[in-house]
């Protein structure tokens, strides 16, 4: 009780007319009531520790609380996982728990290192061999062969990231301009909308055979810049992650404040200025919402596409492990599952960071 009154009187003495300051005080008050549950306060004692006594203390307390809760959540999950895993037996052995998965993480890292060493050795051998040949006969025809070792887990991650990046880029190059046009012109929107609605729910796996055949037929060149499988995966990703951005951009552009549009009409802004100065800044939040949904979709689609089409990447890694069927396989697949989740999370955080940079409104809380 005493604490409450102390807080209240402090808040009162601090509060000015400034509503911003009032808001901050309110926040602090809330924090106090939360912290008071954790702080070492006893009614009888004369001393007491309060986070607000140290500079930045309230922020520290808030961060501590969030972090400790996150860590607690993860710990509980790990315990539950281990407990459940122990009681599941499959034909490939026991379901991997956190410990087994950690072992596989180390194995995969070691494999990557070994493979790297082997590659370095391969090129060294090749170089010495060629040098010897040239020493014997300066006109000797030397051959430089590419290294054809098995791609390691890290290589697969890299391939997957490149593919999703490429597919996402293609999708955005189409989706954002299309969305802007649809938002500006109701006529175009009415014409395009049924097509969007029709293709939006289509699974990537349905597109895949078609894309594979079309790419094989059309992408023929002597020295292709990209592998066919890379193009196939990327286009499948693009086809599936187009729609959230198109739809959100359309909504964002169509819902620009009417007064602002009238301002633009009165000033007689030409169309390109109208889009740049009025439409895009208004629509930025929704465009980013769409882009984040698209990227998440794209990442999910990619794994499925790689698995089915045997395109290199994380999906293929999982499929290969599954076919391999060793006692380590499930653990290794679990590593891939966690990595896929983690990368998805990082991609979303990156988009969020980009949105913070681009958006004019630095005050909105982005989630």
């Amino acid at each position: 009780m005493r604490l409450r009154t102390a807080i209240a009187s402090r808040a009162r003495s601090h509060s000015g007319e400034n509503p911003e300051a009032m808001k901050v005080k309110d926040e602090e008050k809330k924090m106090h009531s939360i912290i008071s549950r954790y702080a070492f306060i006893k009614r009888e004692q004369t001393w007491r520790f309060e986070w607000s006594d140290i500079p930045g203390g309230v922020a520290i307390a808030k961060a501590l609380r969030t972090w400790s809760l996150s860590i607690a959540g993860i710990l509980v999950f790990l315990l539950l996982w281990q407990a459940t895993a122990n009681s599941i037996d499959t034909s490939l052995g026991q379901f991997p728990g956190p410990v087994q998965v950690w072992t596989q993480v180390q194995n995969l890292a070691d494999e990557h290192q070994r493979e790297n060493e082997r590659r370095v050795e391969f090129f060294e051998r090749q170089e010495t061999r060629n040098a010897e040949l040239l020493a014997q006969d300066p006109n000797a025809e030397i051959r430089v062969r590419p290294y054809t070792g098995r791609p390691t887990f890290l290589d697969q991650i890299q391939t997957s990231l490149m593919t999703v990046g490429f597919g996402f880029a293609i999708a955005m190059l189409i989706a954002i301009p299309l969305g802007i046009l649809c938002g500006l012109s109701e006529t175009l929107y009415s014409a395009v909308n049924p097509i969007i609605q029709l293709f939006k729910p289509v699974s990537p796996l349905a597109w895949l055979p078609l894309v594979t055949m079309v790419v094989s037929a059309l992408y023929v060149s002597e020295s292709p810049m990209f592998e066919k499988s890379f193009i196939t995966s990327a286009i499948t990703v693009a086809l599936c992650c187009l729609w959230p951005t198109v739809i959100n951009t359309t909504v964002g552009v169509a819902s620009v404040d009417k007064d602002l549009i009238n301002v633009s009409r009165v000033i007689c802004l030409p169309t390109h200025m109208h889009i740049r100065k009025i439409v895009l800044p208004s629509a930025i939040p929704l465009i980013f919402t769409g882009m984040r949904l698209s990227l998440a979709t794209g990442w999910m689609v990619l794994i499925a596409a790689e698995m089915l089409a045997q395109n290199p990447g994380l999906g293929k890694f999982i499929w290969d492990e599954f076919q391999n069927g060793s006692s380590d396989s499930l653990g290794r697949i679990m590593v891939a599952v966690l990595v896929i989740g983690f990368i998805g999370l990082i991609l979303d955080k990156l988009m969020l960071a980009l949105q913070r940079r681009v958006s004019w409104d630095k005050q909105t809380v982005l989630r």
Binding site: D259, N262, V263, V266, I267, C268, L269, K277
Partner: protein
């Protein structure tokens, strides 16, 4: 005789889902150059529609508007609008908001330095120079409306259209802004058409008050000339018999002759 701004036989009909709705019928008004006109009437009487037709944002179904010898059929910086809720672009600073219009209007006529000077001049006119690098969300409602006015003045409009410019402000801020508008009107001699629902405001600012009858098919009911000498001072006028009389006439029109349609039901 032809006026500077002439509205003749304007009517407008909107196509709504429940059939056609006639908002205005046979609106006629001549405005002289430099005149300050207020449009007053109950909400829903079509004041804003008249203003939107003047701005070129709506097209009249019949009749037309002529400004300075030219027909009005599209929006133009010639008829700049001060919107009720300021309508500043939140992603631009005060200065950039004004600049947007200036660049468009003077792109071939002024150099960069001249434009900058002109923008600063207009910001000073509405006493907002100190906040020129702030964003709209960092300044008060009254200041936002000042920027809205500066943005319009900076485009050197032939007519300044104001759509309930002070409706969203508190009484004290409103009084400050009214004084500013009077000051600017005296200084620049701009032709102004303002919509208001505040009787005191109309009497204090206007040369003529145009009172509109209730819709549908609203039109101009009466026009009252306010002959009070300028500059006008709100304190001195409060008990001035002419002021009180003019105020009385507007009130009588609004509450006796043309009661608010909602009032009967309530």
């Amino acid at each position: 005789m032809q006026g500077y701004l002439e509205i003749s036989k304007v009517g407008i009909e909107f196509n709504t889902e429940s059939g056609n709705f006639r908002a205005l019928q046979d609106v006629n008004l001549k405005v002289e150059k430099g005149e300050f006109i207020s449009l007053i009437g109950h909400s829903g009487c079509g004041k804003s529609t008249v203003l939107n037709i003047l701005a070129g944002l709506y097209q009249a179904t019949e009749g037309g508007v002529i400004l300075d010898g030219k027909e009005v059929n599209a929006p133009s910086p010639d008829r700049a609008v001060v919107f009720q809720n300021h309508a500043l672009l939140p992603w631009l600073t005060v200065y950039e908001n004004v600049e947007l219009g200036v660049k468009q209007v003077f792109k071939d006529r002024k150099s960069k330095a001249e434009m900058a000077e002109w923008i600063d001049h207009n910001l000073a006119l509405v006493h907002i120079t100190h906040a020129k690098h702030k964003r709209p969300h960092e300044i008060s409602g009254g200041m936002k409306q000042r920027v809205g006015i500066a943005r319009c003045l900076a485009m050197q409009p032939k007519v300044l259209l104001m759509d309930e410019p002070f409706g969203a402000l508190d009484a004290l801020t409103r009084a400050h802004l009214q004084d500013s508008v009077m000051e600017i009107h005296a200084q620049l001699g701009t032709t102004v058409v303002m919509i208001t629902h505040d009787v005191d405001e109309a009497v204090l600012l206007s040369d003529r008050i145009v009172m509109m009858s209730n819709g549908p098919a609203a039109t101009i009911g009466e026009i009252l000339s306010v002959t009070l000498p300028r500059p006008r001072n709100r304190l001195a006028l409060a008990e001035d018999p002419d002021f009180v009389h003019a105020r009385q006439q507007v009130l009588q029109f609004l509450y006796d002759k043309h009661k608010f349609p909602g009032a009967k039901a309530a």
